[in-house]
């Protein structure tokens, strides 16, 4: 008998067995409950992915049995090929990737620079600016979506050769309004406040300018804030629906989320819709699972400030 065994035995003696059993039963019950919940939240997505590999006949035949959630029976890649057949899906995908990538990249630069100016530098009107930015946080986008639609239709747009009226049906109208984000600015501002100012002073003694301090000192130290801002910009940019629904008409600028709406109206099979939905969802889910920790802490940080 080893020491730990002895200890375990002593503990078992000290505590009557009657008390231990309910504890284990309770843990078991909780595990069953957690598993049931996991099925509720996970199975619909499993169903979506599994169905994307089945012809409609098979999908409907499987509905009443566990086979609905299992990749068995008549499996095929036809649904995926069908997606590319019926709509310029590759174009939609490219549009969405482009729009979200540019929104995230420009957003990181613009918002962190603004936050840097407010947090580290002497800026006239700093307090007012911060107050206004915080105040706009309460206005949901849906409130101003319709006036905004009218407004962007008034703005001049340079179409490559001349200025025309209206930004509708372009890439910029899907990107530019979402670059500056009050939330990202606030996030960077708070993070920058936690970086010691002595670092700036040391760099200044060495002859670095403010822009240099921003690029080479403060930003490299702000990894977590950058990750959080990137995630919280990417998700809505990729998933946005209301705005592109109103401002896009041509297939050449239409993103995937609006594209699936049009796709469905073509009376395609359910398997094809599931294939479309899977292609635009699974990469994001994979990204989420890979960077689980960063995702969760970024979402949590959006709540902590409250």
């Amino acid at each position: 008998m080893t020491v730990t065994d002895l200890e375990a035995a002593r503990r078992a003696e000290a505590r009557p067995a009657v008390r231990r059993t309910p504890h284990r039963v309770r843990a078991g019950a909780l595990l069953v409950f957690k598993t049931l919940l996991a099925l509720v939240f996970g199975l619909p997505l499993v169903f979506m992915i599994v169905s994307s590999f089945k012809p409609d006949l098979q999908i409907f035949a499987d509905l009443g049995s566990p086979a609905a959630f299992l990749p068995i029976g008549d499996l095929t890649l036809d649904n995926y090929l069908g997606v590319f057949d019926r709509v310029p899906f590759a174009q939609f995908l490219l549009n969405s990737i482009m729009i979200s990538a540019v929104t995230v990249a420009l957003g990181l630069v613009v918002n962190s620079m603004a936050a840097f100016a407010m947090s580290r530098m002497r800026m006239p009107g700093r307090k007012v600016a911060l107050g206004v930015i915080l105040a706009t946080l309460i206005v949901p986008f849906e409130v101003m979506a319709l006036p905004m639609l009218w407004w962007v239709n008034q703005l001049p747009y340079f179409d490559g050769s001349e200025f025309v009226q209206g930004w509708l049906d372009t890439y910029p109208v899907q990107i530019v309004p979402f670059i500056a984000s009050a939330f990202s600015i606030f996030l960077f501002y708070q993070y920058f406040e936690s970086i010691p100012r002595e670092l700036d002073e040391a760099a200044r003694v060495d002859g670095a300018g403010w822009f240099r301090i921003y690029v080479s000192i403060v930003m490299p130290l702000s990894g977590p804030a950058v990750a959080t801002a990137a995630i919280l910009t990417f998700l809505p940019a990729w998933n946005q629906y209301l705005w592109p629904l109103m401002v896009t008409q041509s297939e050449s600028v239409r993103p995937v989320m609006v594209g699936i709406d049009y796709f469905k109206q073509l009376n395609v099979s359910w398997g094809q819709i599931m294939a479309y939905a899977s292609i635009i969802t699974v990469p994001v889910l994979a990204l989420f699972i890979a960077f689980q920790r960063a995702f969760v802490s970024s979402i949590a940080s959006s709540g902590v400030k409250g």
């Binding site: 619909p44 986008f141 006036p147 989320m257």
Partner: protein, 321 residues
């Protein structure tokens, strides 16, 4: 190159420039302010153009008959949009549905999210797995979720087939006006629960473990620990969650537009759906702005309530800046 020209050359080490703002240093300050403004400028222009002007426009356009595309500029028409709105049955149906959706989803979703958060706020094995699974729908676009659930909600779809196996004849979820809003509520809770679970979890983690130790030494049951330790500790999180769910619930649109188009018989039409119908499809920007203004007033009411709730808290806590 810009980095060196943006700031003035620093004084030689040892030179007595520190005490008292010398001329050079004052000029440095001016330059610093100028640099700061330049760095702030892109964000300022964008926020002004795409956040502040549209908000102001909501207030102006609501009192005009502006159309989205029209050769004639909009005219000031006073309260006409509002008098039309208040005599429009669709508006009242939309307002009613929006409020029902909110009133149901706020307590139910936040309570489920808190329950689930308590369930996975442990260090046992598999916790990360469960948290991840519960969170998956949040990462999934509401558009995809709507398509998926539309299929599941069909008369002979996944949900009814499963119900049939335990002997329940399910209704035509989205086609029956008595069930359609309920169906949208259930789906919305499924999609967004994980988001609030994470926020509850981060709130739970701010409660010091010593409090639980002290409570269990005093012989408090789990329920007593929850009432006297957990719940008071979660108050700021609770206020934040209630406000964010409420404001998000007012914005209900995507699910409705994809799954039911406001029907059947107006049973799922909402304020934002109605605003999009008028402002986008019928091009009545002025009318849509009036609806947006009503929406804005609802949000303001919620925000004022939030301010009152948080003020009460800080007064109770005493002088904490």
């Amino acid at each position: 190159m810009s980095s060196t020209t943006l700031s003035p050359p620093l004084a030689e080490p040892g030179e007595a420039t520190r005490p008292g703002p010398s001329k050079g240093r004052r000029r440095g300050r001016g330059k610093e302010s100028a640099t700061a403004l330049v760095m702030f400028l892109p964000a300022a222009v964008l926020i002004l153009t795409f956040l502040i002007i549209p908000i102001i426009l909501t207030f102006i356009l609501a009192f005009t008959n502006t159309r989205l595309i029209s050769p004639e500029p909009g005219r000031f028409i006073g309260l006409e949009n509002f008098s039309n709105l208040f005599t429009d049955d669709t508006f009242w149906a939309s307002l009613r549905n929006t409020i029902i959706f909110t009133v149901v989803i706020v307590p139910v979703q936040s309570a489920i999210a808190l329950g689930v958060a308590l369930l996975v706020n442990t260090r046992t094995r598999g916790t990360t797995f469960f948290r991840t699974v519960y969170f998956l729908p949040v990462v999934t676009s509401i558009v995809v979720v709507s398509m998926l659930w539309m299929f599941m909600y069909q008369k002979d779809g996944l949900i009814n087939t499963m119900l049939a196996r335990i002997g329940i004849a399910g209704p035509d979820w989205l086609g029956d006006p008595n069930w359609s809003l309920f169906a949208i509520i259930v789906m919305s809770i499924w999609q967004a629960m994980g988001f609030h679970m994470i926020i509850w979890l981060s709130g739970l983690q701010t409660i010091p473990a010593e409090l639980y130790e002290a409570a269990s030494l005093d012989g408090a049951t789990r329920w007593q620990q929850f009432v006297h330790v957990t719940w008071p500790g979660l108050r700021p999180t609770a206020i934040f969650i209630l406000i964010t769910i409420t404001i998000a619930a007012f914005g209900l649109f995507s699910q409705v537009n994809i799954m039911t188009q406001g029907g059947p018989l107006g049973s799922t039409t909402t304020l934002v759906f109605m605003a999009v119908r008028s402002g986008f499809e019928r091009q009545q920007t002025g009318y849509a702005s009036a609806i947006s203004l009503v929406f804005f007033v609802l949000v303001l009411i919620v925000t004022v309530i939030q301010m009152l709730l948080t003020r009460e808290k800080s007064e109770k806590k005493g002088a904490r800046s």
